[in-house]
Amino acid sequence: MSEADAIRLAQRGNAEAFERIYRLHNRRVYALCLRMVGNTAEAEDLTQEAFLQLFRKIATFRGESAFTTWLHRLSVNVVLMRLRRKTLAETSLEEETEPDEETGGPRKDIGAPDLLLTGSVDRVHLERAITQLPPGYKSVFVLHDIQGFEHNEIAQIMNCSIGNSKSQLHKARMRLRELLQETLRQQAREKRQAARGGLATSD
């Protein structure tokens, strides 16, 4: 069954069509949710919610945009709604690091230049750093750098301009760089402390 046929049949309530659509897109939606929230239980919950909303609204899909774009817009909205309802800790971080998404200028303190990341960034570190990004930056970074969407698609998904998508992506990368440098500094500190501890015991 092609996607177009599945959509048409799903709009009439066909069970196999619903499942076909789910099988075609579940991995991508789940990956998006997982990268955004950082834990599997919540990602499963959000994936379920995204597909439920999709199937409840599928009758309204008229084909003006690509189905994938429509689905991802829905998924991102589900995730952002959940993140906005979250606790103070995340809200504070957002206010601290994203004073004004629209007009905030480039940060001057872009990290110690002597802490080059080259060779130090692996996906584990990056995954951890992504969870600390503000939701707006996180969405654009995940959609572009991980899921491979182009800026024109992200603009439709996030309901923003292409220019805004590009700007958010740059800021996301800058913030990730800071977070990863902080991780490196922390690791360097721990190594020094471990080395001092070793010297003390040998004395």
Partner: protein
């Protein structure tokens, strides 16, 4: 100049730098570090993208259950339709020519058996050639085939196993004919149902023809 790189990247996060900015980057270790770090982050992100992530299998079951409880899922057409109708969806070929062949085969096989049976088959051949609106025409044809089958009961068989297989196959075909006849009775205007019924008669006629051939050989 470092600010210029930042401002440019804010508008164009990827892609080559304009010549003036590229020249600055070539001479500035801070800007080189920034570009290198961005490449590292991009590479790690691609690595993340390759990671196989999939939701657990039970998630679809949960979604489906919820959709059913909301009345948003209707069972598929195939699930609602009677079992016999499912046969029709598999085959899409007309069987009128086959019905004619069936009549010819049966008629040829029955010449040496019984003149009464042949007459009845011959009488009904014209009915089979045209799409009969009522089931009665099919019933007459079936009756003729049944007569042929009855005549087989008395046919000597040198191989009992073959005879057993033949009777088994006839039983299968008879069941199929019964299903098709029921469908035609329930939906007399359904051309597809009628075609499958003719096809079923054809299969029976072919089986009988095989039996007749064996009889002819055995009779020598």
């Amino acid at each position: 100049m470092c600010d210029e790189l930042e401002r440019y990247r804010e508008q164009e996060p990827d892609g080559p730098l304009p010549a003036s900015i590229a020249a600055h980057v070539a001479a500035c270790t801070d800007c080189q570090a920034l570009e290198a770090d961005f490449r590292q982050i991009g590479a790690a992100a691609l690595d993340l993208a390759q990671e196989e992530v999939a939701p657990p299998e039970w998630l679809w079951a949960r979604i489906r259950t919820q959709l059913e409880s909301e009345g948003r899922i209707r069972e598929s057409e195939a699930a609602r339709a009677p079992v016999s109708a499912a046969w029709w969806s598999v085959f899409q070929r007309p069987a009128f020519a086959g019905a004619v062949l069936a009549v010819a085969l049966v008629a040829a096989g029955l010449v040496s058996v019984s003149s009464v049976s042949t007459t009845r088959i011959g009488t009904n051949a014209s009915a089979l050639l045209e799409p009969a609106p009522a089931v009665t025409a099919e019933s007459q044809s079936t009756g003729s085939l049944d007569a042929s089958e009855a005549s087989i009961e008395s046919l000597p068989e040198r191989d009992p196993q073959v005879a057993e297989e033949l009777h088994h196959d006839l039983g299968v075909v008879d069941n199929f004919i019964a299903v098709c006849e029921k469908s035609v009775r329930e939906q007399p205007d359904n051309e597809m149902a009628r075609e499958y019924l003719y096809d079923a008669y054809q299969q029976k006629a072919q089986l009988l023809a095989v039996a007749m051939d064996r009889r002819a050989v055995g009779g020598k």
